[in-house]
Point group: D2
Chain length 387, copies 4
Amino acid sequence: MTNFADISSRLAEQEIEVPSWAYGNSGTRFKVFGSPGTPRTVEEKIADAAAVHRFTGLAPRVALHIPWDEVDDYAALRRYAEDQGIGLGTINSNTFQDDDYKLGALTHTDAKIRQKAIDHHFACIDVMDATGSRDLKIWLAEGSNYPGQADIRGRQDRLAESLATIYERLSDEQRLVLEYKFFEPAFYHTDVPDWGTAYTQVAALGDNALVCLDTGHHAPGTNIEFIVAQLLRLGKLGSFDFNSRFYADDDLIVGAADPYQLFRILFEVIRGGGYGTDGDTAFMLDQCHNIEKKIPGQIRSVLNVQEMTARALLVDTAALTAAQEEGDVLLANEIFMDAFYTDVRTDLAAWREERGLPGNPMQAYLASGYQEQIEAERVGGTQAGWS
Amino acid sequence: MTNFADISSRLAEQEIEVPSWAYGNSGTRFKVFGSPGTPRTVEEKIADAAAVHRFTGLAPRVALHIPWDEVDDYAALRRYAEDQGIGLGTINSNTFQDDDYKLGALTHTDAKIRQKAIDHHFACIDVMDATGSRDLKIWLAEGSNYPGQADIRGRQDRLAESLATIYERLSDEQRLVLEYKFFEPAFYHTDVPDWGTAYTQVAALGDNALVCLDTGHHAPGTNIEFIVAQLLRLGKLGSFDFNSRFYADDDLIVGAADPYQLFRILFEVIRGGGYGTDGDTAFMLDQCHNIEKKIPGQIRSVLNVQEMTARALLVDTAALTAAQEEGDVLLANEIFMDAFYTDVRTDLAAWREERGLPGNPMQAYLASGYQEQIEAERVGGTQAGWS
Amino acid sequence: MTNFADISSRLAEQEIEVPSWAYGNSGTRFKVFGSPGTPRTVEEKIADAAAVHRFTGLAPRVALHIPWDEVDDYAALRRYAEDQGIGLGTINSNTFQDDDYKLGALTHTDAKIRQKAIDHHFACIDVMDATGSRDLKIWLAEGSNYPGQADIRGRQDRLAESLATIYERLSDEQRLVLEYKFFEPAFYHTDVPDWGTAYTQVAALGDNALVCLDTGHHAPGTNIEFIVAQLLRLGKLGSFDFNSRFYADDDLIVGAADPYQLFRILFEVIRGGGYGTDGDTAFMLDQCHNIEKKIPGQIRSVLNVQEMTARALLVDTAALTAAQEEGDVLLANEIFMDAFYTDVRTDLAAWREERGLPGNPMQAYLASGYQEQIEAERVGGTQAGWS
Amino acid sequence: MTNFADISSRLAEQEIEVPSWAYGNSGTRFKVFGSPGTPRTVEEKIADAAAVHRFTGLAPRVALHIPWDEVDDYAALRRYAEDQGIGLGTINSNTFQDDDYKLGALTHTDAKIRQKAIDHHFACIDVMDATGSRDLKIWLAEGSNYPGQADIRGRQDRLAESLATIYERLSDEQRLVLEYKFFEPAFYHTDVPDWGTAYTQVAALGDNALVCLDTGHHAPGTNIEFIVAQLLRLGKLGSFDFNSRFYADDDLIVGAADPYQLFRILFEVIRGGGYGTDGDTAFMLDQCHNIEKKIPGQIRSVLNVQEMTARALLVDTAALTAAQEEGDVLLANEIFMDAFYTDVRTDLAAWREERGLPGNPMQAYLASGYQEQIEAERVGGTQAGWS
């Protein structure tokens, strides 16, 4: 069995990017509940993200969403973030909230609407130039609701063309990361529904085009760690959008629904060279805190990723490989589960304290007064949400 | 094979209740797209529902949703509807959009919040008294998002108590209809997730408490017609919320995703004595026209139900029973599918014309100028939606 | 946080029934792989079951399946088992392998075939009388493959009648336990597909008719712990068939696919009064060791149930209830997960040793020579399987 | 609306390959029911396949499965088939029934077992040379049942290497077709679980390596017609294994579960250039007639494909494209469904009679005496099945 001491330095490689929108309000089509202390501005979102990093040491970057986080001066925003102790991360485009995009954006039959959507991505690349962000993440809400409504294949061809135009605009240091999603908001077909589609689309673009795997965007029963292994094997796993789900794209706190699945995913990331300094796979969160407090929700999320990473690093891979090669099904499974069953919380608390972090980040946050402060100060204005 | 002439009179028994909210805007958590001509008031919703009935002869009642359709004078509203040629139907309660209900309503741990939710249902019963509605339909958006968040079993007990209090308030002519839903907006557990829960809850109440089956509220792969047969056998199928889905609760036009499933459902309704004058099962729609035009969307919906009802009535049940009893699997299936494969559209057009209705209701609507008129007239104000 | 010492005595209440068929060969429709040491007789199966109990102290009874375990003298078989240190448990009937049952057994349209199936259950009750078994477990493989093939509702009525006839034959100390299953071997409809159907069928019979919940027999995404809570609330959770699954009825080792789900299920059992001396819910396994060694597979299974029971017993229910009542979503979830994340293996090893059991039952079994012995001795004859 | 006359010649292009194993017995892991008249030899299977073609004109080839259809002289077998009026089609390999393959074949950690599996494929290619078959179809039953049991990624690499070795052995006229499957018989991970994996594996081999799409091998809710469109777009849709399902890989008669889905699939095949003389996509059946008669089951299957092909050919694609480009969601859907709702059975009967075929192939078969004859003659011997 691998010891915690052996994995200590590898844990230090972990960086998780938090989404600015996790600090704003979110909900379902039925209701968005507000909550006291919710940010009204991008700066307040960044301040909250910085708080998460301050207490956990795990979240050095915050991802932005355009236009939700649109500002006049991105260089100033970057400095603001750096002053708070974090950086700006991935830029997320949005082609699903403009009336023109009701029936499609990058795939629309109308060339003018496609160009509008492409131009929006150009604007996002301009933002990236100003913020120093590496990744442009594209999630397409496109698809159709009724059979016959759209030419599925024609849309695929137009998508390829639109993506190529966007990709050409990127600098050599920038990457395009394409997210797939099984369904929602489209209910019959989705233009990028699965990893196969995302892969074939980005493979046609070039080396700096990669796939984003959102853990909630699969059909029921899908073996997600297999896809992780496959995309790493193909050199195309650009990033994760971590969250968890019981049913659809529930966007719950990562690790909350099935911690063992998260462990298995992280094991394959490590095994496949996607973890830490080994690789270039970005770890991001994409979650909705519909009913729970948002900053504690984010703290819990990054801690869950860290705890399951620790357990995955603890797998005795030499013994595992030996058992696998001998065909000892039960022993191999036991070695694997031994690591999962190991309670790493005490060791992690010590590890944090060695690094000047609070041993229990959640307690430290709750005791810090930050939550009370923002609830008292952030009065008036419009709470941030998905618009 | 049964002939169309044989089923003509049975088709005349069909009545479908349309939901007022189908005429307002709806969408996903990502975006609600508006559309020209959308009603601003309850009266405009009723006018649109009346138009659907005028062109199809199938939709003599419109269901209301409180508080979305709240007015000062329900008797006046009823007269307005009758002047338009339709009646007011089921009253739907809403305990999912008030901030107090974030963590529950009829199941909440706080007795004051439970009472508030009960009082809302009492108010709905007052509306029913004024509108002459028979059914109080309760869909509970309640549940939890995280394991441990709630005491699943305690909530079930509180639900039973709250429902009993509401049920007592009903008159002998009124019914309580409890809807179940697999998930959404709650993502870990739903307080009434399946027909078994709805059934055991209403069975504890009394004869006038029944189950509402929404065709989109099941786990993937669920055999819905089995549940229809079972609830009719148990005397507890109060009503349908018809719609269709490919994935989750997509709320697409009924029959759009799997017309053969709709046919099978309607066959079991007829076989089980739930159709027309045989029974008391209400046929309602519950749909969202997120991207398509709303009135045509509703026309298509009621026509789909009618077409599949006609096909289901055409099943040669004597021959089917004989094949079933002989154990001739392929012959029984063939007899069943023969009815499904029969194109009833020409016969239905003639049937409508005999009754003074347009043979092609959709064409008649599109040619009528109604759509252009409402698009021109309904300018300004706030388009109706889910609030 | 509850301490291990606090739960020590409650752990001693745990009894798990193992299935005789887990020691024989099993497989898929594609292939049944044999393995050395597989029992050829019921006695050898019982000997293997006794070995599991000897090393774990958890499995004091073995369930039989008729006719797979048919013998001339059940009283002698019972003595044989008792000599080995275990008892005979639930009797499982089989109405799915006789040619007459191709299209149904208790639901068949032909009264003679129904009577044959009823008579088989009478024979099982005779076995129960001889073995002293309390429970008759009925899993019906019945249903249909094609729409129209069968009269779904008529079958439900015939099922009720057949079950009533069987139920009447039971003594007051005996119970009928009805299992439900979503699908397989029938692929269109199953006569007892869900807990609602099993519940309404047994509720019509009487107090000694109960539901068996097989953890692998649900639609994708089903919240199984909710059903556990509901059936306990209704007083109808007779027994569990434990196993685990990723896709369908995979019949994998319990806890292997989603240990957190097993934890949640066990928490609801305990909370609902179904655990140990509190209740009458039987804990059984129903699994297939298609590729792994069978006795170690069973040892792993009962240990998994024990480990998750320990974690579930560790939940600080007072603190949990307080957090739930305050509506502190994250704290309630954290208290719940704290117990799940607690590594109980060291404490359990000590607990076992205190009771004269090996601290590590798996290692003790592997070191005992039993496996080598049966592999050497059980040569020739026909290995037991599903026939 | 397109007329039937317009599609008459295109219907004549249809050729469906039937599987030899559909004529033998099949079942579930619980039971294989036998039936009178079941073939005992390959020749009898071919005779039955020829009967299907004689009555329908749709099934000019029969696929073989090695070793189930192993004979000494394949050239003689080919002549036998030709004498019966049909040809020999795809050769299916089998690496899931030998004890050596319990934990893998082309992916096994042991190079000797991999070589054995490769050699089996070489033997299949030898059969192809003798039979003149174009396609080698590889379905891999490989995977694992427990997390940790296998190195998912290492297996993927070994699979690539094994497939490359097999592919090299093919002549320029031969093709390798790789089938994917979501799960079963492996229950945790499958080595080729999805189209993305099959695609990336065959793309690495070369132009004559293609994907086989079995309509039953997907996760719940998967939009299969999207995958059809995508694989045709990528030039990699080698063949179909048609069947239908409600739950898992049920292998029911194609079109029996969701005829509208079959229609949508066929529409995309036609739209994407995969139909008839336009393309090289082979239409095959892969089904199990567990409870229904086998030859009538096959006749129903090929007729279902023909009926849905006719409906798909009837789509007014010019009007559809216009509606799609105008963004008229409801009109586009209506045009699409109009074709699906058209009852083509009378026209198809006339079309068949023009070609010297029986207007109603099922009735003609049942009246022909063939079934009675084989039931009388095929007495004794061992009925063919999956071994």
